[in-house]
Symmetry: C2
Subunit: 241 residues, 2 copies
């Protein structure tokens, strides 16, 4: 496995990246979402946007026209990518739907599953008993786009798990109706959230592939190559009846 | 007011900063706190740490030995300041108590009033009804240090409000037992959280002073000068009975 990884890396350094996604339009999401509690407080998650931004950059490097819908992150905008900044899951879904049609969509963002049911218009005062935050389910962006009238040819989801990573991801793929799931372990001990490296499983109807730990840019490059292969041969041009 | 602000700015540019806090030890807190919901989700707030870090830098520029206890921020460590990074309010209180004794303490951080009562050890699954987050009150760092056996000679709190800013801050000063409150309006329209400028009221037993909108560094410099004045003359050396 180590030898294979080193060989892949050397090959990547040696070979120029092919422009095999030229003419393809691809949607990528990245980062966390922020769900307001009141004007100053919100619910967040530890996603840094590093992996999603790397995926957008890798797809653009192969010539794709990339729309990157990103939650609040510290990452710089990848070169040649149109970035649409959003905060909440509902904002993110609206931006994704507005980006359709696309040839492929890669949902790397760690979207909040829940929002606060009734966000307050003013800062909640610290008086009396602590509040209880009733949560409401957010729209499921991956499932929505997977079942959309304008469904992309290839829909890729990410799964961030802290236990039973592969089984959970297989179940997620079935449940959401997407084509592939890239599953990673985001337990604090792995350093995946916020860190520079990732170790993933690619789950598709062809089975489960393990990709050993590598820089997020290398994981992104490998995923971009697979996406380019999956989108070949070109879709037949739409012919008016 | 505009003329006064311009004059103050020109004076600041012309005069070297006096080293009148040499030999003083000052605690500053900055940034938000993050309160875990589970290993990947947390409750946060929009504090950027810009004002707190500017206060630490301004005090250090006057020669103070500054301990800066900071929640997660993107700001660079101010030069000549010892930075102690923390995440939660409970971590922040422990770091503040460990920093005592100090001559003065400036509590600029936007500390979460509440934490999640029972943070989960594994990522909470999205299955069944959305969870309800019962919150528990966090320790009150400003009140705790204001009533501490090793209370600093000068305790300064910040108040971040979105309505009735001055009245709320006066009440906060009484309730917490601190000497001064620096009150600011953090309504989203003001751009205070995350922005480069601030407009504050300094509330003390001498009354209420309005400081017009200025760079956070200028507000910090003005506050540092006031702290230096308040710590003059030097405390008499402790003599054993």
């Amino acid at each position: 496995e180590i030898v294979a990884a080193v060989e892949a890396r050397l090959q990547a350094l040696a070979a120029p990246v092919p422009r095999d996604l030229a003419g393809r339009r691809i949607l990528v999401t990245s980062g966390p979402t922020h769900e307001p509690i009141d004007p100053v407080r919100y619910i967040a998650n530890r996603s840094s946007g590093k992996q999603g931004h790397a995926v957008a950059a890798a797809l653009a490097a192969r010539g794709a026209e990339v729309v990157l819908v990103s939650g609040p992150v510290q990452e710089a905008d990848p070169p040649g990518v149109r970035v649409i900044p959003v905060e909440s899951a509902r904002d993110m879904l609206a931006a994704c739907e507005a980006a359709l049609p696309v040839d492929a969509a890669v949902f790397t963002a760690a979207v909040a599953d829940w929002r606060v049911e009734s966000a307050a218009g003013q800062k909640i005062k610290k008086s009396g008993a602590p509040p209880v935050l009733a949560l409401a389910e957010n729209p499921d962006i991956l499932a929505t786009i997977s079942h959309h009238a304008q469904r992309p040819r290839l829909v890729v989801g990410f799964a961030a798990e802290t236990e039973n990573v592969v089984e959970a991801a297989r179940a997620k793929r079935q449940r959401k109706g997407c084509d592939w799931i890239v599953a990673n372990d985001v337990s604090p001990a792995t350093g995946t959230f916020g860190g520079g490296q990732n170790e993933v499983h690619l789950i598709s109807d062809a089975g489960d592939e393990h990709w050993p730990k590598a820089d997020k840019a290398a994981i992104a490059a490998r995923l971009a190559a697979r996406i380019a292969a999956a989108l070949q041969p070109p879709a037949a041009p739409q012919v008016a009846p």
